[in-house]
Symmetry: C2
Subunit: 345 residues, 2 copies
């Protein structure tokens, strides 16, 4: 009945001829065990191929050694990068990462409501979505730390970029080139259709046009669910609806821009001669498509978020000047490639 079972501490102790306590100490502390004894225990452990049962240790210790990473769309580039960055530093700090995928707002709420009581993790990092006040309190009540990646919060540490700034970088590039008639393909939150998923990037649009005294023309704006194919359709839509085509297109993300490029090419518009296109992200394929974009280091942000976790867990010496609990905003910068140029007059 009992399936194969790994050697236990008791086995190690017996083989080394010491007590459980001593074996445990030899394996953990450095103190309180004579060198000779420790050596015997270590040998014994090695011979038996022993490794502590994490569950038992955790039970006794009261800590889990795990952190939950909760992401909406693990199959998308941005999230993959983020998880990759988080995993890298957390695993190095010897934490295991528990991956959870949550789809919509309902999913997220339910997940967060369940997690606290589960005590499965020491911390949770939520990627690109907010945590309600109530959930946050429950998490903190059980001692679980929480940090956000790809979004900010006043209530817990976070790392993100300044989306408004990123947007302005893209738009200022366009306007300084002389563009005035600029279309926008906005990424929209499927939970709240019609609302921008990243408000800052939309505000940048209004603000940039506003600064020029140009009114926003609704015929030039479309919301898209981040699916490139839908972005392609949206662009076609704009071309069909707007009397005069825009001279430039601002996409909230490179993946949306890819769709735009596709439609433009199919409709016979040359980029950038006829229409300029700019995105945000610096997706790995953007270089190949000569897309001008505002770059961000997503993997680096994941790593930074992981460091915030370690900090919150007291596992890292606070860097002097680092205000724990505060957020870090990662830098962004414009990368000019061949998809943007001055408008033809």
């Amino acid at each position: 009945m009992k399936s194969q079972t790994a050697p236990s501490l008791a086995d190690v102790a017996r083989r080394a001829g010491v007590s459980l306590s001593t074996a445990s100490r030899a394996l953990n502390d450095a103190y309180g065990v004579s060198a000779a004894t420790r050596a015997r225990v270590l040998d014994s452990a090695a011979a038996l191929d022993f490794v502590v049962s994490p569950d038992a240790r955790r039970l006794a210790i009261g800590t889990t050694g795990r952190v939950a990473v909760v992401v909406p769309h693990i199959e998308r580039w941005f999230f993959g990068q983020m998880v990759s960055g988080i995993e890298r530093v957390l695993s190095e700090a010897d934490f295991d990462i528990l991956l959870y995928h949550v789809d919509d707002a309902e999913d997220r709420r339910e997940f967060l409501a369940r997690l606290p009581a589960r005590r499965k993790v020491d911390a949770v990092v939520v990627v690109a979505f907010p945590v309600g006040e109530a959930e946050r309190e429950r998490l903190e009540l059980i001692g679980a730390k929480i940090v956000a990646a790809g979004g900010q919060s006043a209530a817990y540490p976070y790392v993100c970029i300044d989306d408004f700034q990123a947007g302005r970088l893209a738009l200022d590039h366009l306007t300084s080139l002389g563009h005035r008639r600029i279309a926008m393909i906005a990424g929209s939150d499927p939970d709240q259709p019609g609302w921008p998923a990243i408000p800052g990037r939309s505000r940048a649009y209004e603000s940039a046009l506003g600064a020029l005294g140009v009114d926003v023309d609704p015929a030039l704006v479309r919301d898209v669910d981040w699916n490139p194919v839908n972005a392609a359709k949206a662009m076609a839509d704009i071309l069909d609806a707007a009397g005069e085509p825009p001279t430039a297109v601002y996409a909230h993300g490179d993946e949306l821009a890819f769709g735009v490029l596709h439609t433009l090419r199919h409709r016979g518009y040359r980029v950038p001669e006829d229409i300029s296109v700019v995105g945000i992200d610096n997706h790995p394929l953007s270089e190949l498509l000569d897309l001008t974009t505002v770059a961000q280091d997503v993997g680096g942000q994941g790593a930074a978020a992981a460091r915030l976790v370690l900090q919150a867990l007291g596992r890292e010496q606070d860097e002097p000047g680092a205000d724990p609990g505060a957020g870090v905003v990662a830098p962004v910068h414009l990368i000019e490639r061949a998809s943007t140029a001055p408008p033809r007059t």
Copy 2:
């Protein structure tokens, strides 16, 4: 000192006025507890916001409720899809997934060597890399099941596609169009430079040409580490090296094909008029780039792998006719788009 602590089963039992055993049973079994008692316990648990400590439960139960998913490049599309598929079905079966990222062969070996003794998981699914015989045995010794996704093995269950077939699908399409001078951009394993990461896709090339009595021209073949940018360079290389350019290019993956398309465009070749291009994968961006490709459902393969895990763990009624321990090979199919056409004569 003692940080906030969640309510324990003992609290629930006390509040309900029953013993620990009864509380436990009420929460788990359906049997052996009177309806009234169960109700009291349930109420009590609800009132206290109680949820069992997974670690304690596991310790007592002897099972972890977790499965490890080990991937080489979590930030790449293929792996993201795979993990996504795995997570979907495993989390529904109430398993937690522990994500591990391993880079190179050394990493993998070390990881697998450590895992067995750790007893952190009930099973491990390795994505797109092989597990040595020794490691496999150790894993099985401690009762951890193992299944492969994106690669096959004689020693444990797996799900993959038939890479040779996929390659032939792509190549037969090309040759039936009339192409004879076909270049190949092969994805290569960084651990074994010069070797194809996916041998079947290379064999398909040799086989398809062989069937036509055409010799493989080394000047038309390049190995690339799956980086699209390097694929672009490799294509440039071929164009520079080969006297006469190929009339078609076969890429081991769509991401490589993207690089090819880039170079072709920059060099002034029209696709497909001057040169045809075909890939494998049906990457989400392929549609936008009008790339002809051989499609595979990666997420579906992940889901299938997860089902194999459940099966191995005895958590799923064996479907009649399903041979546990065997592999499943997922179907592939050609998607013709605008990147392929007959060669100009």
